[in-house]
Each structure stands twice: as structure tokens, then as C-alpha cells.
């Protein structure tokens, strides 16, 4: 709705601008949150990542409901010690994922074939919560870095890092363009979609220009096509705790994971 010169409101179609702005804002906020997450030692970040992956794997392999229930309870206890914003963020994504899986399984339940439906939803809830907690408490840059320890190409990791940077930088630029479009969108305007495609085009050109400058900047600092991450594996107090928890998780899985 916008105001005419006489002060009357008219309907207008700038919902897509608002939606785009909201989507960009939330993406950038998530990246900013990741950027201000506490710095952890490289070794700790690696143990966090591989512990989370192991937990998801064990959840998938487990039969019966004991292991997922034990794991889910422990996860909720761990989650309860976190800040409210982290709890809300983690639960929001995992509850949505569990509800979607339940919705998908509803026909099977109605036809009498879905006795495992709630268990699948529980496993999805636990898996998504685990990964969401990992993402909320570990910088994405640290997670990318840990990939080097499983022999992922260092250059590929640099590309991930640069991609993350560009999502932030171009997202901010797109937001500024959308704000400018919104501020100039006075009254009824049926051609805003055209302006929107203009924004996409401008972003494309801008990203091309930035990529060229980036390449020149790398060249200036001696880049000739190869890149090596020089980072020693350093562990803190978190690693033995996590490894202890991993040991307990494996024990629970062996005892109750596959009856």
C-alpha cells in the first residue's frame, strides 16, 4: 500500500521488494552471526565437525527408538545451556524439517504403512538440530578449513571462502539497490519487475568487475595458481570433552542402537 498525493492509500505490488529485502537481510544476518561466533582452535573445529557427522551417521544407522531418544535428550540438554537466540534458531530449523518429514509421511501413515514415521521425524529432528547447532557455534570459515584435513584441495577451500565473502558483499550491494528501488517506488508502478531485472543485471556486472579486481589483487601478492593452507592442527580443552562424548555415543549405539 502506498499513499497518493491526496493521502488516500492505493494497493501496489512492491511485496516482492519487501520479500527480497527480508530474505537478503536474514541471509546476511546469518553470515554476520557466523562471523562473530567465538573463534575456536582449528583442531577443535575439526573435532566438532567430524563428531557431528558421526552422530548423524549413527542416527541413520540406528534401529529402534532408544538410541534416537537418548541422543535427542542429550542434545536438548546441551541446547538448553546455549543462548536463547541459538536455541530458537536451532529449534526453528529442526522443528520445520521434522514437520515437513511428517507431512510427507502422512499418506503412508493413513494407509497403515507408516509405523516408522514418528521415528524418522525424530531422527530428522536430531540430525538437523546437530548440524544447526554446529553451524550456529562454529564459524563457517573454520568449518571450511577443517576440510583440508580430509585432503580436500586447498584451492577449493579458498574458493569456498571467497564465495562466502561474495555472498556477503554482493548481498549488501543488492540490499542497497533494493532500498533505492523501494524509495523511488512512489505510487502505483506496474513496471517494478523490470527494475528488478535491472538490479540482477547490475549485480552480475558488479560481480564480474569484482572478480577481475580480485584476480589482480591476488596476482599482486604473488598468486600464480597454487594455494596452500598453512595452518597447524591446534587442540584446546574442548577436544578431549568432545572425544569423551563421542565415546559415550558409540557405546550407547552399540548397546541400544541396533536391537
Amino acid at each position: 500500500m502506498t499513499l497518493t498525493e491526496q493521502g488516500a492509500t492505493i494497493r501496489d505490488s512492491d511485496a516482492f521488494i519487501d520479500k527480497s529485502l527480508r530474505a537478503l537481510t536474514s541471509t546476511l544476518a546469518a553470515l554476520r552471526r557466523s562471523g562473530i561466533a567465538r573463534v575456536v582452535r582449528t583442531g577443535d573445529a575439526a573435532v566438532r565437525l567430524y563428531s557431528a557427522l558421526m552422530a548423524v551417521l549413527l542416527l541413520s544407522l540406528s534401529r529402534g527408538s532408544t538410541f534416537p531418544f537418548v541422543y535427542g535428550t542429550a542434545l536438548l540438554v546441551l541446547l538448553a545451556t546455549r543462548k536463547a537466540a541459538v536455541i530458537i534458531g536451532v529449534l526453528k530449523s529442526s522443528i520445520v524439517a521434522a514437520l515437513i518429514s511428517m507431512a510427507v509421511l502422512t499418506p503412508a501413515l493413513l494407509l497403515g504403512y507408516g509405523s516408522n514415521g514418528p521415528l524418522i521425524a525424530l531422527k530428522i529432528f536430531c540430525s538437523v538440530s546437530t548440524m544447526a547447532l554446529l553451524a550456529a557455534e562454529t564459524r563457517w570459515e573454520s568449518l571450511f578449513e577443517t576440510l583440508a584435513f580430509i585432503r580436500v584441495s586447498n584451492l577449493l577451500i579458498l574458493i569456498f571462502d571467497i564465495t562466502l565473502k561474495y555472498i556477503t558483499v554482493l548481498g549488501q550491494y543488492a540490499m542497497n539497490l533494493l532500498w533505492a528501488l523501494k524509495l523511488r517506488s512512489v505510487g502505483k508502478n506496474r513496471t517494478k519487475q523490470r527494475s528488478f531485472s535491472g538490479i540482477a543485471g547490475t549485480l552480475f556486472l558488479r560481480s564480474g568487475h569484482m572478480a577481475r579486481t580480485l584476480h589482480q589483487a591476488m596476482e599482486c601478492r604473488g598468486f600464480t595458481g597454487s594455494y596452500v593452507i598453512h595452518r597447524r592442527l591446534r587442540f584446546g580443552i574442548e577436544t578431549p570433552i568432545l572425544l569423551g562424548l563421542d565415546g559415550m555415543l558409540i557405546t550407547v549405539f552399540v548397546l541400544w542402537g541396533h536391537p
Binding site: 570459515e141 556477503t168 600464480t224
Partner: protein, 241 residues
């Protein structure tokens, strides 16, 4: 140290530089001044070896810099080690996950061992006052902090020549004063400085020579910096002030 003989450059049909003759001595401090679009940034990219001249020749320390010479990795690395370039847009220059990685990138790429690189990271972070930013992602810093990180990343290579494209552009007064005094110290320590600028007052006392580029992409005057900056009529005629 740096010599350009009859250099011309164009981006497709768009002329950026015409018939430039220029000589820069070791240890000098040269300001490139001229209106927007006169070719200052292009000239600096040529000096850094990022753009290749269409006509004429560029010599660095007696060696011709051309595509053939730069195809030799050793020559290219050596040139980039000796000439540091601070881009106008610092954001484009920063690409590593953390500030510490950013500062270490150049030294490690040039084959220095980790201990030496780490020492350079520490020294440069201390010099620019950015030790507290070491673990932060560069793209989340303020404009002034990004400029400092970009400059520290360049200085970690310990270049002999420092080329700076509008180093004080869009910075707050405190950061401008800080960078001004840093540039003064770098020049005093023997670095050759080449910088484009519109902030004549902030940079007063640093430059010895000014090279003036005109709207038609030619060098129209070379002389003592203070003398050229004092010539208001000349600067107004050529759309510089």
C-alpha cells in the same frame, strides 16, 4: 627505477592513457593528480604489471616489463614482491577467511617459511594497529579497518615501491591522519611512494613530485608537489580543485 617511454593504453576503443613519458627515482614520493577518469588508476596498474601497455615501453629497474617477461613466474613474483599495490577499493583486495591469513598470504605465496611469515604478520599488524582484528573475517570490518588490513597485507611483502590508489578516499579524519603519518614514516625509511589523491591537504609534506594528468589522458605537468598544489589557477583550469 621506473621508466615509461611513450606509453599509451586503451580499454577497447576507450583511450585511458596517451603518450606518457615518466621517470620515477628510487626513494622518491610521487603524487599522481588529475580529474576523475584521467587515467591515474590505469597508470598505476601498468606500473604494477597488471595491465600491459598497448604502445611504448615500461622498464622497472632496467628490465622491460611486458607479457613475455611476466610469463616467467620468477620474474612476475619478483616484480610483485618489489612493487606493492593498494587498490582503491580495499574490499576487492581482501579475500582470505581471517585478517591473519590475509597478512600471511603474500609472504607464503612468495615462498617464505611459516615462522618468517608469522613474524611479518605480527609486525605489520602492530604497525597498523590491527592486532585485535587478527581472527576477524576481513569483509565484516569497517571501511577504515579494511584499508588498514589491505595496507598491512601489502606491507607484509616488504615492497620497495608502494603504489597507492586514493589511499585516503572515504576514510574518517582520524584514520586519514594515521595513514598520513604512516606514509611519511614509510617514505622516510626509504620506500618509493606513488599515490593518486584528491586529499592534497592531508598529504602535504609527503610528496616531493607531482605528476598531473589531464582529461585527455596525457601528462601535462611534472614538478615539485608544493609548487603545483600552490598553483590554484592551474588546478582549477584542469578540473583538479
Amino acid at each position: 627505477m621506473i621508466r615509461l617511454n611513450g606509453v599509451s593504453f586503451s580499454y577497447g576503443d576507450e583511450v585511458a592513457l596517451q603518450d606518457i613519458d615518466l621517470s620515477i627515482e628510487r626513494g622518491s614520493a610521487v603524487a599522481l593528480i588529475g580529474p576523475n577518469g584521467s587515467g591515474k588508476s590505469t597508470l598505476m596498474k601498468i606500473l604494477t604489471g597488471l595491465e600491459m601497455v598497448n604502445q611504448g615501453a615500461y622498464f622497472f629497474d632496467g628490465q622491460r616489463v611486458d607479457p613475455k617477461a611476466l610469463a616467467d613466474r620468477t620474474f612476475a613474483k619478483n616484480l610483485h614482491r618489489r612493487i606493492g599495490f593498494l587498490f582503491q577499493n580495499s574490499e576487492a583486495q581482501l579475500f582470505c577467511p581471517t585478517v591473519a591469513d590475509e597478512l600471511a598470504f603474500g609472504p607464503l605465496q612468495l615462498g617464505l617459511d611459516e615462522e618468517v611469515a608469522e613474524k611479518r604478520v605480527k609486525d605489520c599488524a602492530l604497525l597498523l594497529g590491527i592486532e585485535s582484528l587478527r581472527e576477524k573475517p576481513p569483509y565484516q570490518l569497517s571501511e577504515g579497518e579494511k584499508r588498514k588490513v589491505a595496507l598491512a597485507a601489502v606491507l607484509s611483502l616488504n615492497p620497495e615501491v608502494l603504489i597507492l590508489d586514493e589511499p585516503l578516499n572515504s576514510l574518517d579524519p582520524r584514520t586519514k591522519r594515521f595513514l598520513r603519518s604512516l606514509l611519511e614514516n614509510l617514505h622516510r625509511s626509504g620506500k618509493t611512494l606513488v599515490a593518486s589523491t584528491h586529499d592534497f591537504n592531508y598529504l602535504k609534506g609527503i610528496f616531493t613530485t607531482a605528476v598531473v594528468l589531464s582529461q585527455d589522458h596525457r601528462v601535462i605537468r611534472i614538478g615539485p608537489y608544493d609548487e603545483i598544489i600552490a598553483d590554484q589557477a592551474f588546478l582549477e583550469t584542469h578540473n583538479i580543485v
